[in-house]
């Protein structure tokens, strides 16, 4: 089990010594049981750090933010940022390294092991508890969660309330870290693509019915894009205007922003948006599942990425985020790549 006290101790120490500029971790929110991302620079505040099954966020997104901030600063403080990473999050670090977006020295990784479980799916939890309001959720031994509600505490088997991504997780232990908390426990994942396979098993007609309904709901709040640590482009295909404007950019050039996707939240535009997003993440998505978690309309976005992950694995034997030195999926090929679909 991850000992929170150890984590706090290390955090205090690295802040005190000035080894890191600040630490990105989890802290208790103002209301409810869901922790919030915390940015801690005062060693005394390290006390606020928390670690529990509701630490769902992939904090590596904020490394991207930091990187962007630094670029604008005249005298940037280039000390590393301490960041708490779960297994999945650490894979995101590897992808950012692979894409040379960050250097290994930019981060000091405080790894946490998910051991036998993972993080909770808020919706599943609410369903299981039938409306009881959760106050606190903690890891327990033997793959259970200890849930405290307004009416008392109870043990719940983690698998009942675990986020889907954790059920199909390939990295319950960080793949890259500077210090790690918790044990490395081998966990067998028998069906890493089961969620995708359930969709694939549908007839083509039913698949379309499913996706039409789901993607019709999209209001294009772009939370799925915004939460993704891989979505760090300065300009996005959905932006209505070019951000890359120079003093000599002509009005015509500014107007030339390609409208691959119109602003109308219509089905066709939503599909192009979501498929483009998925393609953009081909060989990059590390399945932290954040896109799906944050979607206010509950669109199962993760399926699209997972499908991509599955094809990359099956067709090209490519796995994301385990090796920062491998060439990326779409900038490499093998002679034996499948081509039976090509006439």
């Amino acid at each position: 089990m991850v000992k929170l006290e150890d984590l706090k101790k290390e955090a205090t120490q690295i802040l005190k010594s000035g080894k890191v500029k600040y630490i990105i971790g989890y802290a208790k929110g103002a209301a409810g049981f869901m922790p919030i991302p915390a940015f801690i620079s005062d060693p005394e505040d390290a006390e606020n750090l928390t670690w529990n099954p509701a630490c769902v966020h992939n904090l590596t997104k904020f490394i991207v933010d930091e990187k962007k901030r630094l670029k604008k600063e005249k005298k940037p403080d280039n000390r590393p940022i301490g960041i708490i990473v779960k297994g999945c999050d650490s894979r995101a670090i590897n992808v950012l390294l692979q894409e040379k977006y960050i250097d290994r020295d930019d981060v000091y990784l405080l790894g946490v092991s998910c051991e036998k479980t993972g993080v909770v799916d808020e919706k599943k939890l609410a369903k299981t508890l039938k409306g009881q309001r959760v106050v606190q959720i903690d890891f327990e031994d033997n793959g259970n969660f200890l849930v405290t509600t307004e009416s008392g505490s109870e043990k719940i088997p983690a698998e009942d309330v675990l986020a889907e991504r954790c059920i199909e997780c390939k990295a319950n232990f960080p793949v890259v870290f500077d210090i790690v908390f918790g044990e490395k426990i081998k966990r067998q994942v028998d069906k890493p693509f089961q969620s995708v396979e359930t969709i694939e098993a549908l007839s083509q007609k039913d698949r379309w019915k499913f996706w039409k309904e789901q993607l019709d709901k999209c209001i294009r709040c772009y939370a799925c894009r915004s939460v993704c640590p891989m979505c760090y482009c300065d300009e996005c295909v959905v932006d209505t205007i070019s951000f890359a404007v120079e003093p000599d950019t002509s009005a015509e050039e500014k107007a030339q922003k390609i409208k691959w996707i119109e602003k109308s939240p219509n089905l066709s535009e939503n599909i192009v948006y979501h498929l483009t997003r998925a393609m953009h993440l081909a060989g990059r998505c590390i399945d932290c599942g954040e896109c799906e978690r944050v979607c206010p309309l509950d669109i199962p976005i993760r399926f699209l990425n997972k499908k991509m992950e599955k094809d990359a694995k099956n067709f090209f034997d490519y796995e994301v985020g385990f090796d920062p030195d491998q060439p990326s999926l779409v900038s490499s090929f093998k002679d034996e790549d499948p081509e039976d679909f090509i006439r």
Binding site: K100, C233, E235, F243, A244, E246, S331
Partner: protein
């Protein structure tokens, strides 16, 4: 800014107008946004047609032009030149292919007209996004590099040097001459190979424009057409050719005997040696691999006896850097490995030889002074079996390709054998005889008719030694009979393969290999001497098996191609190259990974395109996650508009 595009629709007589309602296309395009002028004409490529375009540009102030006509491969240049002569940038002219891709392949007039309209609209949308570009100009280093000093390299080097350009000729062995210098006589004329080659070798060594670097290897090549930078490793020979008087004293005292590669192991040589008497440069080489040691303490005998003090144990490898504008690769061939042909007892039985060994046996300068004696007991063989396609044309076990020259040289071998051993009998096992070439078929006939060579169509099943004979079991597929020959000697027409190190060299030069490992030409028909990389040309058997006249012809072809570059002060390169939007680039380097030409590199964390190397393929464009790199005049924005125009309406 309002665009003023002119659309010119060609009838091509009835070639287009027969299927496409040209008037309708013209009328519909007149209404297309941005189109100022739309006109049709019977033959747009004719002088009056071109003048019509030029006049319209001038009169209506058009700034962009689309010509709807035949394939751009035919008249793109024509119309771009016309546009240029009317005062607009040539890249403001695009072609809509409504002949090959429309009128010639459809019958329904309405549908073909609709399609032609869409194709033309799409071209209009494209041209409206074009920027005016100027060809990229590159200064040319007017010298050439030739890699390989066989007949191909020699010929190419001489041709270029004789035209007046400096040539650096690099040969990895101690002497130039290649395999040709090992041959005895050449088919179909049976003239002496050494006699015709040595004058050329001497010419190379004396040529003021040729810098000969033997015992040297190309280590690294960077740059691009017109401006290559080459690093050459010159290995130490430990003998100063200037001082050496060729007295041969050193050889006499050298205690080491090793296999002589010039005679393919049929004789031995010393650790210090001259490859063959006519070697160019005419000097000795100390073979460090076989020398007991460079310290005088280890041996030092050769240095002791060398009066002119030509031997220098302290000689070091040297890196020579050369700037050249063009490169000819003539690395030649090697024979298919012995180990791969064990089924013929090759490498196992001393009297089973390969073709080159047999050449040495026939050669007056060879191990037997031109007498054909078999290696095992130095007796004259009375029955000799020649086996063609040893390793060739055998996709299952060996090489799938035909080595091309074996039919002819086997006929030659059999003939030479008969000329040496009048009472001997030559048998040739063959699959079929390929004797395409001037005088070749007659040559084969002569072997059969005058020299009584017995051709057996079939394959050899087994070869084994028994009682001093090499027994050959085979089948004559014409008669269906099993054949057993108690031969004294077997000669294999071993397959040719690309020479050792060709693959390595191809990597250094960033040129492609074909599936058999030979250097790949840019186009099998139209660009047989060009590699896929501009400025690098191919000559000789490095590209494919071929005989001497073909090699010489290709070498001259490659030289001519190289001269075409060297003769210019500047080269021009298509400006349809990739450009980076630095604002969007995050420096992930995926474009660098995918670029087939290494034209993209990372500089200060951003991608940078070397416009001279870039061929504008756009693979980077599709790969870039940030839309930060795009190819000029075929940008995603343009393609987007083209898609819209193709489908819209």
């Amino acid at each position: 800014m309002k665009k003023k595009t002119g659309v010119f629709v060609c009838h091509c007589g009835i070639n287009i107008a027969g299927t496409v309602d040209v008037k309708k296309v013209t009328k519909d395009l007149a209404k297309h946004p941005g189109v100022e002028h739309s006109e049709d004409y019977i033959y747009m490529c004719s002088d009056p047609g071109q003048n019509l375009i030029i006049d319209s540009i001038k009169e209506k102030g058009l700034d962009k032009v689309v010509v709807a006509c035949c394939s751009p491969t035919l008249h793109e240049m024509t119309f771009r030149n016309a546009a240029k002569s009317a005062g607009i940038n040539e890249f403001q002219c695009e072609i809509a292919n409504i002949r090959e891709q429309c009128s010639w392949v459809h019958k329904d007039m309405d549908k073909a007209t609709d399609k032609a309209t869409r194709i033309t609209r799409s071209a209009v949308e494209r041209v409206q996004g074009n920027e005016s570009l100027e060809p990229i100009s590159i200064p040319v280093t007017r010298r050439a590099l030739v890699i390989g000093g066989g007949i191909a390299g020699i010929q190419a080097a001489l041709d270029m040097a004789n035209t007046g350009y400096e040539v650096v000729l690099v040969e990895r062995s101690p002497s130039i001459g290649g395999h040709m210098i090992q041959l005895s006589e050449t088919f179909p004329t049976l003239d002496c190979s050494q006699c015709i080659l040595t004058p050329k070798m001497v010419e190379v060594s004396k040529h003021p424009k040729i810098k000969l670097l033997t015992y040297s290897e190309v280590q690294d090549v960077s740059g691009y057409v017109g401006n290559f930078k080459v690093k050459i490793l010159k290995k130490p020979t430990y003998v100063d050719p200037e001082k050496c008087t060729l007295c041969d004293e050193c050889v006499r005292v050298c205690p080491v005997v090793t296999s002589n590669e010039f005679d393919l192991g049929l004789t031995g040589r010393r650790a210090i040696y001259i490859p063959f008497p006519q070697a160019i440069p005419a000097t000795y080489t100390l073979d460090i691999k076989n020398c007991p040691g460079l310290l005088p303490i280890a041996c030092g005998k050769c240095a002791d006896v060398c009066d002119p003090e030509a031997i220098d144990y302290d000689m070091k490898p040297e890196i020579i850097e050369e700037d050249v504008g063009a490169i000819v690769i003539a690395t030649g061939f090697d024979l298919y490995e012995k180990e791969n042909l064990s089924e013929y007892g090759y490498g196992k039985y001393p009297d089973v030889l390969d073709g080159l060994q047999f050449e040495r046996l026939c050669s007056a300068s060879g191990p037997t002074q031109g007498k054909i004696l078999r290696p095992s007991d130095h007796k004259e063989p009375k029955e000799v079996v020649f086996i063609q396609c040893a390793g060739s044309r055998d996709p299952e076990l060996h090489c799938a390709y035909c080595s091309k020259i074996c039919c002819m040289y086997t006929a030659k071998h059999a003939m030479l054998y008969k000329h040496h051993v009048h009472d001997g009998q030559a048998y040739i096992f063959y699959i079929d005889i390929r004797s395409g070439g001037k005088g070749y078929e007659e040559f084969v006939q002569r072997a059969v008719e005058e020299d009584g060579v017995i051709y057996l169509r079939g394959k050899v099943a087994k070869i084994f030694e028994e009682k001093g004979k090499v027994k050959v079991w085979g089948v004559d597929t014409l008669s269906g009979k099993d054949i057993e020959i108690d031969a004294d000697m077997v000669v294999l027409a071993t397959a040719m393969r690309p020479s050792d190190g060709a693959e390595d060299l191809a990597k250094k030069l960033k040129i492609a290999l074909d599936k058999d490992g030979f250097l790949a030409e840019a186009h099998p028909k139209l660009k047989p001497v060009e590699s896929v990389t501009a400025g690098i040309f191919l000559a000789g058997a490095a590209q494919a098996p071929k005989d001497i006249p073909e090699v010489v012809a290709q070498a001259s072809g490659a030289a001519a191609k190289a001269i075409a570059i060297l003769s210019q002060e500047r080269l021009f390169h298509s400006p349809n190259v990739a450009k980076v939007n630095l604002n969007l680039c995050t420096g992930c380097g995926m474009c660098v990974d995918v670029c087939p030409y290494e034209a993209v590199s990372l500089k200060d964390g951003k991608a940078e395109v070397n416009e001279v190397l870039c061929e504008g393929c756009g693979t980077c464009q599709a790969t870039c996650l940030r839309a930060a790199i795009e190819v000029k005049n075929l940008t995603p924005a343009q393609v987007h508009e083209m898609i819209t125009a193709s489908l819209g309406g």
